[in-house]
Symmetry: C2
Subunit: 140 residues, 2 copies
């Protein structure tokens, strides 16, 4: 389950140092855009990895279900470890503020979605938009 090599091979893919480094970088960052991940990889001692390889590595790791991503702000997918399930994001449409809530807030949602469609929702890191307390008051 945690054997990256085996999981990759199971899908006809291969284990490469780049993929290991990208995965490690995502874990270190917690959250990161492809660019931030590329920077993190570049800073791990090894040689730099071109953006295209980072994108391809993230795709592969995502197909494996090891990483996932969300869109916290407009233009930037943010990747994270799939098992680093901690919270979900709240993004204010008014001021851009980003907050977090514990996953248990969505327990019922997960249950219902499973019952109704057999869908295994991964709400961790999901981004929910709306208005934060202050913007809410302003727009009376």
């Amino acid at each position: 389950m945690s054997d990256l090599g085996a999981r990759l091979r199971a899908q006809g893919k291969r284990l490469t140092s780049q993929r290991e480094r990208v995965l490690a970088a995502v874990g270190r960052l917690g959250h990161g855009t492809p660019e931030e991940i590329a920077d993190a990889v570049a800073g791990d001692g090894g040689s730099a990895v071109p953006a295209s390889t980072v994108y391809r590595a993230l795709d592969a790791l995502q197909e494996l279900g090891l990483v996932g991503h969300t869109h916290v702000d407009h233009r930037a997918p943010s990747y994270h470890l799939a098992d680093h399930a901690t919270h979900l994001h709240l993004v204010c449409r008014g001021c851009g503020w980003v907050g977090e809530v514990d996953l248990d807030a969505a327990d019922e949602l997960v249950t219902r979605v499973d019952e109704r469609l057999g869908f295994a929702a991964d709400v961790s890191h999901a981004a929910i938009h709306g208005l934060c307390r202050s913007c809410r008051e302003k727009s009376s």
Copy 2:
């Protein structure tokens, strides 16, 4: 409340035919990427509106809280009317399948987020990622 002109003026903004047409197009489409919206606007009889204006109009309408957007697939924000609250999206990480569930599935989530942070969540059209029934079985 439904007077577009007044709402715009309240924020020092102005009512223009482009903004009216963009808003109308979003309503007609239900969901749409900026590009699709631009096409829809172009097809409403009037003259074409450049992409930059569509982007600026969407920003303005979003600031007003009249429209919102979600990221259903990787690279394409999908805009919708804020009050066209109908469902939320389920996106399969494995095969890309996109399903919908009624908003009531998230009632508890909305309540909790409000209680805990005073955040007015707009789960309508939110995108929740995970695995659909079949991909779930495959990945045993």
